[in-house]
Amino acid sequence: MSFLTLAKRRASRILMVSAGLLLVLGGGIGWLRLQDQLDLQKGLNHFREGRFEDAERVLRPFVARRPNDVEVLKALALSQLALQQWQAAEGSLSRWCRLRPEQPQPFERRMELYLRLGKNEQAARDGLRLLEQNKGDLERCQKVVWLCLGMGRVAEAEQACRLCLLEQPGHIQLRYLLAECFHARGAEAEAQAILAPLVRAHPQLTGALMLRALYLLYDAGQAQEAIPLLRQVLAADAQRQEVARYHLSQALARTGQKEEAQRVVAEMQALQARKRLAGDGHPDNLELQARVAEGLLKAGKSLEARRILEKILEQDARYPTAHRLLASYYEKQGQTAKAAEHNRLAGY
């Protein structure tokens, strides 16, 4: 055999072996990829079927390997949200936001998460971004404006408001919100320029009514004129019961109606105490129960107050706040001996 033939044979053998190896390697890789795809599909199916725990477990390594796969990232982020894995979800959502800055969904989700975590500043930032993308979203606009106002971010609130007004310049809610922004930064003249006609034309707009009342009460020295507006708010707006009562009590006090003012503010305090008790996490919190009773007592609802106080004493016969308030109750009833006894038990 010539050297050339030998070389050709060897070369062809090498090629065959190489091809075989490549085939094996390719097959292996293909098999692994197939498994990978099957796992991924399994993970995505888990997500679609609402089995978030399984989805999160399967998808997490995929995202680590393929961080730019938006579909997988989205499924992982939403699974983490469903599982209340807030910190991990925040990371996934932020990556999703970065990969798809043009999409509203990741920003919406992240804004909601930030709100839940109390990261209001970041939430407001996402909100403003969303508004820039969609100025016509009135619901979001209001949410962002209130969010910013709640944080004292008046400039950002005004920015959000003006963005939305570009789309709907005559919108009454937005005009009212702009007045809120002016009020929040102390520009009362500008606020009133919007509010006065708004309140005349739309007396059902309780937010605007309230704001007008606050101006009359605190800035214009016209507490008497503020009272009917505040009563109107109180009658029409279930959401503003506490705040309307508070300012009504101020207006009543400034017009010399001290007794009614005290009753109104006590009602507000009872409402607040009930709310706090409901969200306290300590349903057996005797101090908060006593505060509810105190509010009721001052608001003239004595029997209900007494029932609560006696219930407190059933749980802790020495509870000083309850004894003190019962003493106050019996004093009002003219039962001085009982009042003195409770005062003694309260340590007074």
């Binding site: 936001c97 101090e287 908060l288």
Partner: protein
């Protein structure tokens, strides 16, 4: 032979092939790794800047330099932290400036904590400490010489006042279990020392006392004492406050504990005090967890009123009716609750002419996410909550405020505000996603009730997070610029020297009542300054801040003006005196009843 040769050749081909494959795979992995985006939340957050940030220093703004180490003040607070996260561990202790030797150089008194459990052994070295001002920027610990080495117990707050009108300031110190009174007396060595006169004075108080304040409530020329009470805690039945999901504990809120009424002690003038809490009307107010107190004449009727910042309960405004009687009026006066009627977690409080009206408005620090409150005094005992328009609400929203002072940091003639911040719960980051240590803040006032946050340009201390609690100002180096001292929960006391570069002028007015009709400290006095067509109104208040005491001398910024044309003093007795043509950049001692002011050389 051939097989062997073939085998050898086989390896020659396979090995490079594998090597090349590995190389390619490695390269792909490396390139992929290099191109992989950052995957953690922190990194994502870092890519976006906060809504507003000021990082550059600006000329002319106040500048504070930390000089604690150089000053020799080496006090470190012990909070007694336990795995139980007792509420007592969270409130910290205060500090007070007191010129105890009356040499004109403010000395510093630091209140010490300790173990919370009563049975636990208290390290005798853990005492409150007094640092004497060496008049050269340094201080010397004189606790033992001053007779204060026995001041042990879990200390809270301090009030400085000359209750016996002898010309030397005394100390009232509050504790987890009551109050102690230290009388300033001559020492055998010719200096000054304190004697614990609590028993003799009749100050019996078993409750958890926090801030306290001196002030003459009945116009008899003697300082009376108001003491705040926080809550009643039964350690044997301490509630568990923990995050349901993780079981992580945190400091329980005061709403879980009963409160007790506060105390008011009338000074009998013979070294004793009488508890007049009931007869004065103080005890008629609904019990509330009090943390900050200030005595100021809020309605300008010449009588000291008492304002108390309560924690998650309406504040108290005890309106002085005369004759030692008070009526609580905060709710209907508009300074009892927050802007929308919500309860304020009131911590520190100050009162001053913040909006140029000439009336004392109130500033109260608040919980994280709530924002400090600013009650603008509209006259006739009516207040308007104005923190939003003032610019104070927004920057204080992401802080949990405690101590606060009103002072003119840059001597421009407008009051500024400093605030010590820090969370109550050391597990706040895990439980509430809120920082435990937080940066202190400095707000520059424009004189009309609006403020600008200049914390980012006020010096390194304001850029670092701390667990701030007490705060008090004094011009300890008598250079005409007000300095600051901060206390920290479980941390050191920090002294900041004001190094503001300014050409602005100042005047220091030290008011001395006659000790007969007015108290010698002149608490309750009102000073009106007229200079170059401008007018400033200042007050000498009792108490203020949080568990802390600032110096009483008035350090008034004059801006470009170097002289005060007229200073009208309304003394606590009601007497009005006018002092004319007082040179600026000077320290003037004004004596009640004496026509001529006395210039003091430090």
């Amino acid at each position: 032979m051939r097989d062997t040769t073939t085998g050898r050749d086989w390896h020659r081909i396979i090995l490079p092939f594998c090597f090349i494959l590995l190389l390619i795979a490695g390269s792909v992995l490396l390139v992929g790794y290099a191109l992989r985006p950052l995957g953690n939340a922190e990194a994502d957050l870092q890519t976006t800047a906060p809504l507003s940030s000021e990082t550059q220093t600006s000329p002319g703004l106040p500048w504070f330099e930390e000089v604690t180490a150089a000053s020799g003040i080496d006090f470190r607070h012990v909070d007694g932290a336990t795995p139980m996260h007792y509420i007592q561990e969270t409130v910290g202790s205060g500090l007070g400036w007191i010129d105890y030797d009356a040499d004109g150089w403010p000395d510093l008194f630091c209140v010490q904590g300790g173990p919370v459990q009563p049975g636990e052994k208290h390290d005798p070295a853990l005492t409150c400490r007094l640092y004497r001002n060496n008049r050269n920027g340094t201080f010397t610990d004189v606790t033992a010489q001053a007779g204060l080495a026995g001041a042990v117990g879990y200390g809270m707050g301090v009030a400085v006042g000359d209750y016996d009108n002898d010309g030397y300031d005394d100390l009232a110190v509050t504790y987890l279990g009551g109050i102690r009174l230290y009388h300033n007396e001559p020492s055998a060595e010719g200096g000054r020392r304190f004697r614990d006169v609590t028993e003799r004075a009749g100050l019996r108080d078993p409750h958890w006392a926090t801030s306290c304040a001196w002030g003459d409530i009945d116009g008899d020329g003697r300082l009376d004492l108001y003491v705040c009470h926080y809550v009643e805690v039964d350690l044997a039945h301490y509630p568990v406050c923990e995050q349901a999901r993780t079981g992580i504990r945190f400091g329980c809120p005061p709403t879980l504990f009963p409160s007790t009424t506060h105390r008011l002690y009338r000074n009998n003038g013979d070294g004793t005090f009488t508890d007049i809490s009931k007869s004065s009307g103080i005890a008629a107010a609904s019990p509330a967890p009090g943390l900050g107190v200030i005595m100021a004449d809020l309605d300008g009727d010449g009588r000291l009123d008492i304002y108390v910042a309560n924690d998650l309960r309406p504040a108290y405004l005890f309106h002085n009716q005369g004759g030692g009687r008070f009526l609580e009026k905060a709710l209907l006066a508009g300074c009892g609750l927050g802007p929308n009627g919500q309860e304020v977690a009131g911590m520190g409080v100050e009162a001053g002419n913040l909006d140029g009206s000439g009336r004392p408005s109130l500033f109260v620090t608040n919980f994280y996410g709530k924002g400090s409150v600013f009650y603008r005094n509209q006259g006739d005992l009516h207040f308007q909550e104005w923190s939003g328009p003032s610019g104070l609400a927004s920057p204080s929203m992401r802080r949990l405020g405690f101590g606060t002072v009103l002072f003119d940091a840059d001597l421009d003639g407008r009051l500024d505000i400093a605030v010590a911040n820090g969370h109550v719960s050391r597990t706040a980051p895990q439980v509430f996603h809120e920082p435990f240590a937080q940066e202190a803040q400095l707000f520059l006032g424009d004189g009309d009730g609006r403020f600008r946050d200049v914390s980012g340009q006020a010096g390194p201390y304001f850029l670092e997070p701390h667990v701030g609690r007490g705060l008090a100002w004094a011009d300890y180096d008598n250079d005409g610029l007000p300095d600051l001292a901060f206390s920290h929960n479980g941390g050191p006391v920090v002294l900041l020297r004001n190094r503001t570069r300014t050409a602005n002028h100042w005047i220091r007015l030290e008011l001395e009542g006659d000790g007969q009709r007015s108290n010698r400290n002149a608490i309750g006095a009102r000073v009106e300054i007229e200079a170059g067509g401008t007018r400033q109104v200042h007050f000498v208040n009792g108490g203020g801040s949080y568990l802390s005491a600032s110096e009483r001398r008035l350090l008034i910024g004059l801006g470009a003006l170097d002289q005060v044309g007229r200073a009208t003093v309304t003394w606590p007795s009601g007497r009005r005196q006018v002092f004319e043509n007082l040179a600026g950049d000077c320290w003037w001692r004004l004596h009640e009843g004496r026509e001529r002011p006395e210039e003091v050389m430090p």
